[in-house]
């Protein structure tokens, strides 16, 4: 078994699509399973739905029983229903909704006109 690790901060990459594509380029031959850190289960599950290859997801569980002894095991939390490959990543849309200079100018002008209208009323 090969254990690899990749990390990037939320400030470095803020959106899921870019994170997913970064994972794919970091692990071109796929990933068999991921051990998710506590409290990040939901986010990682969502993220891995965007990755092209199917991945099994696990979290570490631990119980203190009997007192003084702890038992740990890996619990699988892969979302079942459809295999991950049935949810291919979307086209990047971040560029579609950017306003160009002329569009922005129109809305700035609208803001000025709205403010002027308010001022004239008062």
């Amino acid at each position: 078994m090969e254990v690899l690790k990749a990390s990037f901060s939320r400030h470095e990459i803020s959106d899921y699509l870019t994170k997913a594509s970064r994972i794919q380029s970091r692990f071109p031959s796929g990933i068999s399973g991921i051990l998710i850190a506590p409290d990040f289960e939901a986010g990682v599950q969502e993220l891995m739905e965007l990755v092209k290859f199917p991945v099994r997801l696990f979290k570490y569980r631990e119980e203190n029983s009997p007192p003084g002894e702890s038992v740990g095991w890996l619990e699988e939390i892969t979302l079942h229903g459809k295999p991950a490959e049935s949810t291919p990543p979307e086209e990047p849309l971040s560029l579609c909704n950017r306003l160009n200079r002329e569009e922005l100018r129109e809305f700035i002008q609208l803001e000025i006109d709205v403010a002027r209208g308010r001022h004239n009323k008062s």
């Binding site: 899921y16 969502e46 739905e49 229903g81 049935s86 803001e111």
Partner: protein, 288 residues
């Protein structure tokens, strides 16, 4: 301001779209039921709140309730969200759980994975069941996930905006995104304030319409204004009755791209038997 001929034409067309608003007479409460359009068929609508996307799930239900209250249509809210995994798995239940919000409004939750599964490429659907039904697709556009897939399903997108330039700018941004994804979507503007004066609504709509015409080549339409229920109660009275929510354009199939696209056919074929079962109360699906 001088308009060139093309813009003048578009403005005239936009204003003719508005004419039903001006013909509406002041109505008493409750408003009369609108005549049922002949065979409006199934249509796919979403209501977006561009500057408060978290409100999408509330607003779709609210608009659906307003439409159902004043017409004879049935509506269903299809919520697309992470964790909404209601596909039958271990149980023997053949359908996703259906939640009944009103005798004529139901809600079903599906996950992004299910959405992909339902609409994925497959054999062409030749005949699809008929029925007059509005399917409201609820989702948060900011998540981007499945947006392209959802856009392909949409017939109409209602932008529920504040009467402010900033809100209109966000509405335009959303319009631009969906317009790139599906050129057949009809865009409607609905203002969030019931007390907004008619001339101010007109001014804001016209400016928005001019911008969408100029840069995207599309004519947005105007549905008047609709306040959230608590605002109605707080203000005690609604000004400008004639500028209130005019839902008539939503009850016709005029302007809809028909016949249904393959994705819409698959989606409708999947949900038709669920929505046309005899309604009975079922527990809401449990989400993680």
């Amino acid at each position: 301001m001088e308009l060139d001929k093309e813009n003048e034409k578009k403005l005239k067309r936009g204003l003719s779209d508005l004419s039903p608003l001006f013909q509406t007479t002041v109505s008493s409460v409750p408003p009369p039921a609108l005549p049922r359009s002949s065979h409006s068929g199934v249509q796919f609508i979403t209501v977006c709140v561009p500057d408060h996307e978290g409100d999408a799930f509330l607003v779709n239900a609210y608009v659906a309730s307003q439409i159902v209250r004043r017409s004879e249509v049935f509506a269903s809210l299809i919520s697309v969200a992470p964790g909404m995994n209601t596909l039958p798995s271990k149980s023997n239940h053949p359908f996703p759980a259906l939640e009944l919000l009103d005798p004529r409004i139901s809600r079903i939750g599906i996950s992004h994975q299910e959405l992909w599964g339902i609409t994925k490429n497959g054999p062409a659907e030749k005949d699809v069941p008929e029925g007059d039904f509005i399917l409201f697709l609820e989702f948060e556009p900011a998540q981007l996930r499945s947006l392209a897939r959802i856009a392909l399903l949409l017939d109409r997108l209602i932008l529920f905006v504040q009467p402010e330039a900033e809100s209109l700018r966000e509405a335009y941004r959303l319009t631009k995104t969906f317009w790139h994804l599906n050129r057949e979507i009809e865009f409607f503007l609905l203002f969030q304030e019931a007390s907004l004066s008619g001339p101010r609504q007109e001014f804001l709509f016209e400016r928005f319409s001019l911008i969408t015409s100029r840069f995207l080549g599309l004519s947005a339409r105007w549905l008047g204004s609709l306040a959230f229920p608590e605002k109605n109660e707080r203000s005690g009275k609604i000004l400008n009755e004639e500028f209130q929510f005019n839902m008539e354009p939503l009850l016709t199939n005029e302007g809809l791209g028909r016949p249904l696209s393959p994705e819409k056919k698959r989606f409708w074929r999947y949900f038709h038997p669920i929505l046309h079962r005899p309604f009975h109360h079922e527990p809401a699906p449990k989400h993680a």
